[in-house]
Amino acid sequence: MTACHDVEGSAVAVAGIRRVALVGSPNAGKTSVFNHLTGLRAKTGNYPGVTVGRSVGTTSVDGVAIAVEDLPGTYSLDPISPDEQVVTDLLAGKYPGIDAPDALVLVADATTLRRSILLIGQVLRLDRPCLLALTMGDELAARGGRIDVAALSTALGIPVAAVIAHHGSGIDELRAQLASFDRWQRPPVLPPIAEDDIDAWGQSVLDASQYLAPQPDGRTQRIDRVLLHPLWGTVTFFAVMFYFFQVLFTAAAPLRDGIGSALTWLGRQVGDHVGNPVLRGLLSQGILGGVGTVLQFIPQIVLLFCLLAFLENVGYMSRAAFLMDRVMAKTGLEGRAFVAMLSSFACAIPGIMATRTLPSSRDRIATIVTAPLMTCSARLPVYTLLVGLLVAPQTRWCGLSAQGITMFLLYLGGGLSALVAALLVKSTILRGDLLPFTMELPPYRLPSARAMLAAMWGAARVFLRKAGTIILATSLVLWALLNLPVRESQTQGMSSTDATAYVMNHSYAADLGRAVAPVFSPLGFDWRTDIALVGSLSAREVFVSTLGQVAAASDPESPQQALAGMTDDQGRRIFTAPTVIALMVYFMFALQCMSTIAVMRRETNTWRWPAFAFSYMFVLAWVMAFVARSIAMGLSA
């Protein structure tokens, strides 16, 4: 069986290493315990054959390495969906290609023990070495609850470790126990099988442990009275959304400008100190030009990941999903898909990764293939350029900045199209899920810095690695295509600008551009625009710099002047209003992002869905661009 992505090199493959799996319901603090045990070194991927995420890491006890696997959260070993079947099969040793773990660590929240006793009973029935890690003990006490951990251990017949996940106390003791699971206490008799009988058994166990259930969390109740209030809750929600977009546009600006200046300085150094023109071109245009735009976005992306991680960990995201569920249900999805769609306004990559919270795999796939329609931050430089070409800066419509309104409409268009696409997809090919919408609303908890860091770093690392490598590679390839073959003989007597223009017009890229020209000519794009389109398949940001190179602009980062004046062979202006509009609409819909496709592939575990997404979005983009252009031409006639 093929190993899953990124996990193939992990310690799991090494023979003889002991394997421990963490089992527990969602929101029990399992991921926190996992992060504490494995540090930030965990590898993530998918279980073979399904879209369920897999996290495996290692920890070491007295020099012995132990593999730790964070199984997906589950309420019971009696599955109701194929995804949940993964955990049940894996624990039973029936999952193809993966052995059952050697020992199990049950992670249970002390404040919801009356519910999770069901899962505990079922896991004990498996008759495997088992240890219970009891989390949120401090919260239990703070809310007037109580439990005698030693009595619980006696009643269950297994070792119990009290762990306070958000400041890591009890983790070292837990880790120390992992090496000796052969000697863990085992229950003398296994709990009963039938659910009603497990309930009776559980009640007896909790009574023997002097368990006193906690009172509802007063602080959460007070906050929810505002945040979920029909009026104030909605107001706060929109305020949070507005703040989200503020961060998107402005908060990271100083950092972005800082990086921009650093890159400009680097460009100058290259220009001054690198003698070889080929190398100079490669460095300044190929590398700095292409990767530069991406680098400038990093502060923005990291800040957004940070905000999303905070909202998720503090517990607000489930409230947002609760408020938006009715709207999302109209598209056939559910409230949690809203969070994924929202994240896609920053970048589709965290949005796609956020679909892991959706229990239904059809909902997950539907959200994954439609989320890229949401206007992501990469479209911003493209829109800025195009809006600048279309609308003069000082124009005002009804007293508001025309450029601002156009931007807003483009953003709105993207958002609406994603929802409509989700509706269509869910009512046709990904239709019909019997899975009920049930979602826990955990108490508000201030996330620890460590949890935030882990969440942020996990997401940012994917973005940096994929985006960095793919975009860097494409920029280099594009540069090579635009500047090769070097036509030494033909450019002998020309001036340097003419020579560059000649090489470019006869380069491999030009051949490519002319080859695809028939596809795009009905949209009014000329072959140079086509080259930029093909290049920006790697990342939308690359469109701007590529167009700049092609237009032989003096400053490839803001090619506005050169583009406005660009003419085709017959001397007609290329970037007329209908063409610019067509281009804007094209970018609204087209999936011009290799990184997104790569993440889609990883999350859906197949090439089928990324291929589908790319195809339908290309067709949609082409058709809508054509329609928009026709309307624009009709209106201006």
């Binding site: 006696t154 009643a155 229950p187 003398p188 296994l190 009640q203 007896s204 023997a208």
Partner: protein, 188 residues
């Protein structure tokens, strides 16, 4: 199934089956139990059953294992506990046992009942099948409360010991004899 769970003891053949005290039959060594449990005891699968204040201790015969018999015995035990009258128990230690049961009840449900009415109840002495208690506080002024406590205590003691226990309550105030006298005057 009634709430029940099993805890290990120092003897691997012996387990404590923890059950709520009010579901337990009379305390002591079990000679015969109803249903399947009795059959297992009779057949020798189970070596020994003892009912204690808060649990039932079951010892398996030495070549049987709890892994094999656990589910079976659990089900049998639950079924048998639904019929406490059908148990035949060797009440081990009469007076001490009765004193223990009474003390447990007074510390537990009966005492709590008395407190909820603003009074209290304590054990004075035990003679054979007679248990003498004293009521004080609000209880002693109220014939109804005294009657309820008396009936409840007597009922529980009879159920748990399997014998015809009789409860006598003294009262700690002179007011009651006076009150009774007045009452008897009026009634006459």
């Amino acid at each position: 199934m009634i709430p029940i769970h099993a805890t290990a003891t120092s003897n691997p053949q012996q387990l404590r089956w923890v059950v709520a005290a009010d579901r337990l039959p009379a305390r002591g060594a079990v000679r015969h139990a109803p249903g399947r449990l009795g059959a297992l005891l009779g057949d020798g699968v189970i070596d020994h059953i003892e009912v204690r204040p808060a649990d039932v201790v079951i010892t398996l015969q030495s070549d049987n294992s709890w892994r094999d018999w656990g589910d079976d015995i659990r089900q049998a035990l639950c079924d048998a506990l639904l019929n406490p009258a059908g148990w035949d128990v060797d009440a081990a230690d009469d007076a001490a046992g009765l004193a223990a049961i009474t003390a447990e009840l007074l510390a537990g449900p009966i005492g709590a009942l008395a407190e909820s009415h603003g009074g209290s109840i304590e054990l004075v002495s035990i003679e054979g099948d007679s248990v003498n208690v004293r009521l004080s506080g609000a209880c002693h002024g109220c014939p109804a409360a005294a009657g309820t406590l008396h009936d409840k205590l007597q009922g529980e003691l009879r159920r748990r010991s399997g014998r015809e226990i009789r409860v006598h309550s003294e009262t700690s105030s002179a007011a009651i004899p006076l009150g009774k006298k007045l009452l008897s005057l009026i009634v006459r």
